[in-house]
Structures are given as structure tokens and as C-alpha cells.
């Protein structure tokens, strides 16, 4: 059995990468991801992790080096945040198309300007369509578990897609909390060595990434899309196996006290925990409220999501990113679209909260739930409302 320890979540994530026996790490430090890669470079330098640590001059190079490494069949990890993720943008699309299963932790942070090193989800929401599997962690334990799982999911022969684990910058990355790190034998047993069917090898030359002329590009993209959607089954299999081995259960859509709820809040990431405390408080006052969050964001868990919202009158989606001039925050837009053709669908209300590190408190969640309850009888006039912004 694993050992319960007090760890900064960033350090625990680096330890999880070590437990996963990553062979190549290519990363460029950026706040608030820095502690993760610093600790990994220490582990490599001390000989505790037998891996190649590639220091690079930018995030564009970090992801490029990572893809080269994984293409040769090496288990590869990288991590970034905010502007760093944005700088990776053009390379990010290449990884899934070439079926290169690199694992990346994104310590979610706002995008400039104004310059902000603090937490929100602007960085990852701008990368929604890159074709990577995307997961969300709420606490240190989940971050550790998801990182280990991510390697097995990504490298599964039926998946072979790059995978992102999202953790909130600072709000999660810099918190010391209790974490249970599995034993090395347990992880080795869960995660077999990476053995891709095709890899770059001078003895057996092959081409990765040739031009896709109009006669083949479309078919290649359809094949990628089909394979991506099919990865859902493998993800569920991995989570089932994890639950059996470690007793911790992971679902594509996680729910909390949604039974008989009239208002359900939906928020991704670590602030869902603050929301749970708010839900408990409101339930004690007799308010019928619950909580929902996406564990799996890509591929979008349509089936599980529709089932989870069935019978709920009002769903309040709390976005931590803005879609300027759009019809709502990125999560709400997606959710509304997913529900449009559903036979029974909740009324969807959208709040934007916690941009650029603005604290979202228990009281804020109570306010949002109360405001959402107002829409049980009335349709919202606005596509979204901002919470916690000073008006004067």
C-alpha cells in the first residue's frame, strides 16, 4: 500500500512522473508550473530517475523535443502553463495526428494582458480543439492518480493520443496537503513499459508526418476523429482497473449531491472542492443544490453528461475563462450545444468567475446557486453574468 505523506502538489506530481518511470522530460520553466519541472530535474540529476532531461530554450522547443522523443518509443513528459502553452500551440495539433502519446501537466493560469501569473482556465480553453485527451484534477491525490493513469491511457494501443492533466496553478500546484503515493511495484504492475507498434528507429526506417494531399487529408482527419472518440472505452477501462487496485473511483462526469437537486453548479478543477463545502452548507439550510464537474473534458463525455443532467431543472455553469464577444464562457457554450437536441434538458445559466486569480469563496458559490435558483421560474436574459467583479 502507498504511504500518506505531506507534499506540495507540484512535488507530488513530479514524484508521480518518477513512479511512472518517464524516460524523457523536455520542459521550460514557467510560473506556476516551475516546481514540477525543477523537482524532476533534481530527480534526474540525483540519479533517482533514470531519464533524459532536455533543457530547451522555449516551450515551442519543449513540445517539439517531447514529440521527437515519444516518436522513438520513449515514455515522455512535459509541463507548462499560460503563455507557455500558447507558445506550444502550433505543435500541439501535430501530436494527436501523429498519434504520439506524450503526457503533459498544465498548471492552469490566465493569459496576458494584463500580465497575470495567477489561476484561471484561459490557457487550456484556448487549446480546446488540439485533439488531446484532457483531464481535470481537483486535489493533490487526483493529480497524482491522473498523471499515472494518463501514461497508461495515452499509450494504450487502442488510444495512442497525447494527454493533458489540468491542475489549477497556485490554488492547487502550490498547496501542501496529504497525498498517498502508490508504491513503485503497484505502479509498475498497473503501468507496463511503453511499447508502441511504430516508432522512429534507424534500423527500421519509416516516415511520420508526411504531407496530406487533398486526396488523403480528409480521410486522415476522419480516422483521427473516430479513433479519438473510441478512446473513451479505453479510458473507462483504465479507471475501472484503477478503482479495483487503489480503491479510488474516477468517472468522466463527477457528481456531488445531485440527487433531487433543483440547481446544480458545474465547475472544473480544484475550486469544485470549495463548491462542495458551499453545497454542504446550503443542503443543511434545506436548499436542493448539487455539483457536477468534468473529469474528462476531451473527448467530450456526451453520454455520461446527458445522463448526469437528466431531470435537473437548472444547471449553472461556472466558467473560469472568457470568450470575448461570444455567447457564453467556453464550458457553457459547449454544454448548451451538447444539450440542444436532448429530449430533456436543464435550463443553462452561465457565470464567469475567478479570472486571473480572483478568489472564489464559499459565499460566491452560495450567491451563484441562489441566483441560479431565481431562474427556475424565469429565463435568463443575459448569455452570462460575471461574479466577483468590483463595479465601482
Amino acid at each position: 500500500m502507498g504511504k500518506r505523506v505531506a507534499k506540495e502538489v507540484s512535488i507530488a506530481i513530479a514524484d508521480a512522473v518518477k513512479l511512472a518511470r518517464a524516460e524523457v522530460i523536455a520542459a521550460y520553466p514557467i510560473t506556476p508550473q516551475t516546481h514540477i519541472v525543477e523537482h524532476l530535474s533534481e530527480l534526474v540529476a540525483n540519479g533517482e530517475l533514470d531519464a533524459e532531461y532536455i533543457t530547451v530554450e522555449s516551450e515551442h522547443s519543449a513540445i517539439s523535443a517531447a514529440l521527437g522523443a515519444v516518436a522513438t518509443g520513449a515514455r515522455t513528459f512535459t509541463s507548462t502553463a499560460s503563455q507557455g502553452l500558447a507558445l506550444m500551440h502550433e505543435i500541439l495539433f501535430i501530436a494527436p495526428a501523429l498519434r504520439l502519446p506524450v503526457v503533459m501537466v498544465v498548471a492552469n493560469r490566465a493569459l496576458s494582458a494584463p500580465i497575470s501569473i495567477w489561476n484561471d482556465h484561459s490557457d487550456i480553453m484556448a487549446e480546446r480543439d488540439i485533439g488531446w485527451i484532457q483531464l481535470w484534477a481537483e486535489n493533490g491525490q487526483e493529480a497524482v492518480d491522473l498523471v499515472i493513469q494518463a501514461f497508461r491511457i495515452a499509450e494504450d494501443r487502442n488510444v495512442m493520443f497525447p494527454t493533458i492533466v489540468n491542475i489549477d496553478g497556485f490554488t492547487l500546484s502550490h498547496v501542501i496537503e496529504p497525498v498517498e503515493l502508490p508504491d513503485q511495484e503497484e505502479v509498475d504492475d498497473f503501468l507496463p513499459p511503453f511499447k508502441p507498434k511504430y516508432k522512429l528507429d534507424p534500423r527500421k526506417p519509416l516516415t511520420m508526418g508526411p504531407v496530406g494531399i487533398p486526396e488523403i487529408y480528409f480521410e486522415a482527419k476522419k480516422a483521427q476523429d473516430e479513433a479519438f472518440k473510441n478512446s473513451r472505452r479505453a479510458i473507462l477501462r483504465v479507471w475501472k482497473d484503477w478503482a479495483k487496485r487503489f480503491g479510488r473511483v474516477y468517472n468522466p462526469v463527477e457528481t456531488y449531491r445531485t440527487e433531487d437537486a433543483e440547481v446544480v453548479l458545474l465547475i472544473n478543477g480544484s475550486l469544485a472542492e470549495t463548491a462542495m463545502t458551499a453545497i454542504d452548507k446550503m443542503r443543511e439550510q434545506g436548499k436542493k443544490v448539487g455539483l457536477m464537474r468534468f473529469r474528462l473534458w476531451r473527448p467530450f463525455p456526451m453520454q455520461e453528461f446527458r445522463k448526469a443532467v437528466s431531470g435537473i431543472p437548472v444547471l449553472a455553469v461556472i466558467d473560469r475563462a472568457l470568450t470575448p464577444g461570444g455567447v457564453g464562457g467556453p464550458v457553457a457554450t459547449e454544454v448548451r450545444s451538447a444539450l440542444y437536441n436532448a429530449a430533456r434538458r436543464p435550463r443553462v445559466v452561465n457565470f464567469i468567475a475567478g479570472l486571473g486569480g480572483r478568489d472564489v469563496t464559499v459565499e460566491d458559490f452560495e450567491e451563484m446557486a441562489d441566483r441560479a435558483a431565481f431562474y427556475l421560474k424565469k429565463r435568463p436574459k443575459e448569455a452570462y453574468e460575471m461574479i466577483g467583479v468590483r463595479e465601482s
Partner: protein, 183 residues
């Protein structure tokens, strides 16, 4: 659940103190979290750090707004920061100061609640040879609140400071002796 807010100046080790308390509590089989007031660290600027300790799982990611315990590492802070802001009625202010009770209460805006005072700068200078008061103030924290066991805090110090741990343990022990409690 007990919530702690630490006030210090960048470089005094407020974040380290917060971490040591949380690590001790977790090793004592409790639930705890510690986190800084996230931002660019600047030496000398007022900084905060936060701790929560509970017998149950903590599901809260907001800052600490209504602390049970406030620890002030620097004697000059109460005149520029409202260190008692949001403090619970039966809460503690644990302060590094060489002043007497009356002067301190006046400096804290007529604060009437529980107060623990130690001249941590003097102890740190004499024992550590540095005006870094974080581990010294942990002695005052231990004496006033007993929130964690001394044994676990000492273990955490050993783990964090290695060969420097003995001096830090000595500073903490001396502060435990010299801290005055006004309740």
C-alpha cells in the same frame, strides 16, 4: 477546522512556517493544507501564508478570511497591516515583539482578545545569528495553541533543515519558554 494566517515579510520564512505546521499536522494523521498568498516573492514586502488543520478532509480552496490564529513574524507589521482582520472572537494573536502588553494592544487598535508575545527577533539573533523568526515563532505558536505536537514539529524541522535543525529546534524551545500569554 482551525484556520491560521501568518504575516511576515518576504525572506522571514512565513511560508516555511505555514508548511511546517501543515506537515506536522498531516504526519500526526490529521488533515491539513498550507499555501502562500500567491504572488511574486519580494524580499522585505509584507507577505501572508495560510494553514488549515482539521480532523476531517478539507474541501476549501479559498484564502483564510476568518482565522482562529494569527501569527505575526515581524514587529513592524501591525502598524502597516491590519493583522487582526477577520480574527474569530476567541482567536489568538501570536506576535513577535519586544513591547509590553499595553503598547501592543494599542498598536493592534485596542485588541482585547487572546495574545501571545515573544521577542523572537532577539532569540533568533542570539540562537541562529539571523533575524529570521519563522522557527522561533513556531515555539510561541506551540505554547499558545498546542495545535500540533512538539515532537512532530521537531521532526518536520529536522527534515527541512538537516544539520541546521538543532539550532532551529533550540530557538523554538527557547521561544516556548519565553512566550508570555495574555488571556
Amino acid at each position: 477546522m482551525i484556520e491560521v494566517r501568518l504575516h511576515g515579510r518576504g525572506g522571514q520564512g512565513a511560508v516555511t512556517s505555514a508548511e511546517l505546521i501543515a506537515i506536522s499536522a498531516i504526519n500526526q494523521n490529521k488533515y491539513a493544507q498550507a499555501f502562500p498568498s500567491f504572488g511574486p516573492e519580494r524580499r522585505g514586502a509584507p507577505v501572508m501564508a495560510f494553514v488549515r488543520v482539521s480532523d476531517e478532509k478539507i474541501r476549501l480552496r479559498e484564502k483564510v478570511y476568518t482565522p482562529d490564529i494569527v501569527i505575526v513574524l515581524d514587529p513592524s507589521l501591525p502598524s502597516i497591516v491590519d493583522v487582526t482582520a477577520g480574527l474569530k472572537e476567541d482567536g489568538w494573536v501570536i506576535l513577535n515583539s519586544s513591547k509590553d502588553e499595553k503598547t501592543i494592544r494599542k498598536m493592534l487598535g485596542g485588541y482585547k482578545g487572546k495574545l501571545a508575545v515573544v521577542d523572537a527577533t532577539k532569540i533568533a539573533m542570539e540562537v541562529l545569528g539571523l533575524p529570521i523568526t519563522n522557527t522561533t515563532m513556531l515555539g510561541a505558536f506551540l505554547k499558545a495553541t498546542g495545535l500540533v505536537d512538539k515532537k512532530y514539529l521537531e521532526e518536520a524541522l529536522e527534515h527541512r533543515f538537516g544539520r541546521l535543525a538543532e539550532k532551529n529546534k533550540a530557538a523554538m524551545a527557547r521561544a516556548m519558554k519565553e512566550t508570555k500569554l495574555y488571556t
